[in-house]
């Protein structure tokens, strides 16, 4: 299972995240900056809210008619001379790419950023078959050298400081240590140029796939996407089956929001529209274009009450605004997809047992829904998943017992008043006032960070009753 990036329990991953104060600070700085830039960028649209409404309507319509648009897209790609492959799951997707590599005799593969390639664990499979795979997105390149998973869906090494990057370069590339960003960029550029020119296969992701034209759209900032989709003789594009938009004009709506929501840019530096492989009269471009459309659990979501998560355009705005993500960073989620979108999509794609804590790792504050360009109702989706974790018996026993006891006590006014009196007794026995001690067991999590307020001897309702009978 490659969606899962860690076998450690959730709480251990969180503790580990808190141990590295420098990284917590780096994540906070970067996410707050992206959030602020997003606000500024949205203001440059004549009516950002109307654009978001339109984008949501486009996504809702597309997901509701996905079969039609996927079929249309496939036909359009084939008409252009491209090949479309359908993968039911991660294993099929890996095998398809491997087969293409073997059939075309590819040995050296240059990749641009693709979250779905992370999701299906592609690199490991290709390397296992003796192929050389090089990530060319700067962030992914650093992550690959460092042997780490990306911690953010847009900014893979958001958690690293430039000093850490300098150390990675020095130890893995054998260059003198530097933490000057322009020098680090030059080192990467020099190394990657050679990769672009020598790779015989390029693997990219796909931000959007346009059904009417068979076009795939890549939004990148470094130009690497353009290099690896045009220089090598074979281009393989991976896409989740929900990446579709019906028309080019729909695409333009989504593009107005994608970069603004992601990094606060009006557009990414490069927006590549790739329509078919090299044509007979064209000097450049790959001889073969393969598009691998991956399901890997998505149609399961399509059928049920979680379909809304498929509207997601992977901008990462929900990660940047999320107070939980800001504090624990991406790795603690233990999934290729962290943050609010990850807490929803991971258990859907990978099953509740592997990701049972993620839907609960949220205060339901709704900041994610607020910033989502397509207004996904994250709180409601998280609540439905929480109900599912309870149904599947994945809630801790003490929580279940506590919730049953609470529902019983608050289920009748008489029992509720008894509980209130017990609370008041607790306050009296512990000296009155705010409780400053440590509560036992799971409740110690409260008292570790806060005092607990006193239960009043006389509840509001008791006072009210008294006053009514006196008055």
């Amino acid at each position: 299972m490659s969606l899962q990036t860690s076998q450690q329990p959730f709480h251990a991953r969180v503790s580990k995240a808190f141990e590295n104060a420098e990284r917590v600070a780096a994540v906070r700085r970067a996410t707050v900056r992206f959030y602020d830039q997003r606000l500024t960028a949205l203001r440059s649209l004549p009516d950002a809210e109307a654009t978001r409404d339109l984008a949501r309507a486009i996504r809702a319509h597309t997901i509701a008619n996905l079969d039609k648009y996927l079929t249309q897209f496939e036909a359009a790609v084939q008409a252009l001379g491209g090949q479309v492959h359908w993968a039911r799951d991660a294993a099929e997707a890996r095998q398809i790419v491997l087969d293409i590599a073997q059939k075309t005799g590819a040995k050296r593969i240059a990749k641009s950023k693709s979250m779905i390639s992370e999701e299906i664990g592609l690199n490991k499979a290709l390397e296992g078959a003796g192929l050389e795979v090089i990530e060319t997105d700067l962030g992914e390149f650093i992550a690959q050298l460092a042997g780490e998973h990306p911690s953010h869906i847009i900014v893979p090494v958001l958690h690293l400081t430039r000093q850490e990057v300098g150390k990675v370069f020095a130890s893995k590339l054998g260059v003198p240590y530097t933490d000057v960003i322009s020098e680090l960029n030059s080192i990467a550029r020099e190394k990657l140029r050679e990769v672009y020119l020598s790779a015989d296969m390029g693997i990219s992701g796909c931000n959007f796939a346009v059904a009417e034209t068979g076009t795939i759209c890549l939004a990148t900032n470094e130009g690497n996407g353009r290099m690896i989709t045009s220089l090598p003789r074979v281009h393989v594009a991976l896409m989740g089956l929900e990446r579709i938009v019906p028309t080019l004009s729909d695409l333009s709506v989504m593009l107005q929001l994608l970069a603004r929501s992601a990094t606060g840019q009006k557009l990414t530096v490069y927006t590549s529209l790739i329509t078919g492989p090299r044509r007979a009269n064209e000097p450049h471009g790959p001889e073969e274009l393969h598009i691998v459309i991956v399901d890997n659990g998505r149609t399961r979501a399509l059928a049920g009450e979680m379909a809304e998560i498929l509207y997601c355009i992977r901008c990462g705005a929900c990660l940047n605004v999320c107070p939980v993500y800001r504090n624990i960073g991406g790795h603690a989620y233990g999934s290729v997809y962290p943050g609010p979108v990850g807490s929803v999509i991971s258990p859907i794609l990978g099953g509740i047992p592997a990701f049972a804590e993620l839907p609960h790792a949220s205060t339901l504050c709704g900041a994610c829904q607020d910033v989502c360009p397509v207004r996904i109702d994250f709180p409601t989706l998280l609540l439905r998943l929480r109900r599912e974790t309870v149904r599947q018996g994945r809630s801790p026993v003490w929580v279940t017992l506590g919730m049953k006891a609470y529902a019983f006590m608050a289920g009748s006014p008489g029992r509720f008043q008894l509980a209130e009196r017990l609370g008041a007794l607790f306050t009296r026995l512990t000296g009155g006032g705010w409780f400053k001690g440590q509560l036992p067991g799971p409740l110690s999590a409260w008292t570790r960070y806060r005092f607990f307020p006193p239960f009043n001897r006389k509840t509001f309702q008791a006072r009210w009753k008294e006053r009514q009978s006196n008055g």
Binding site: F18, N327, R387, E388, Y449
Partner: protein
Amino acid sequence: MPDTPRTVSLFITCLLDTLFPDVAQAAVDILNKQGVHVRVPSGQTCCGQPGFNAGYWDEARVLARHTIDLFGDSDEPVLMASGSCASMIAHYYPVLFQGDPEYGPRAQALAGRVVEFTQYLVDHLGVTDLGAHYEASVVYHPSCHTLRGMHVDRQPRALLSAVRGLRVLEQRQPATCCGFGGMFAVKMGDISGAMLADRLDAFEETGADMVVGCDISCLMHIEGGLRKRHSRMKAMHIAQLLAEGLKA
């Protein structure tokens, strides 16, 4: 003052009833001064939000049914001085009883009657200046479910800015969650603690005397945290600040 006395039903909510009865009383005092007749249907417990948020929908339904029965089928506004409980009824009671022929429509009806305390004062009564006087500097913490669930933000800010002697300061990233989140505060204690610390720092950086809000659950968590770090800041529910300001 409105021309005709109005009647509202007050849903006290469990935390106010048990832990902060003075805040509930303050809300009643303010309403009475505005000529509003307050009814308190007896036998109130809890709206069911803790269970619902933790994934225990069957347990939550027991409490929600009780609440729906208690507040009956009149068209009186149901007033709540707690944004998250209000949001629970307004948004999630209909979800809880989707497809239920009896409670479904009743949940919808109750959802439509829920009004948050400051929303009632400002939007229904049309009052922002209660005539209160309070010498202090405060930050307003917009609790998430008050802000995003009930879309209540300008109302408490308007009420606060009309209080004479009160200086309202702004903290950095004001619309950031304090980390309470009900069961989250216990189940995800360390994350909740880190989120709390971030907010307490933001409040303290302003140099304000107090943090004021509309949701007692967040305020309980915030004040508990302020006390634990021996801060000179206090937390206060807006009803209490306004009521005390009226006594001055």
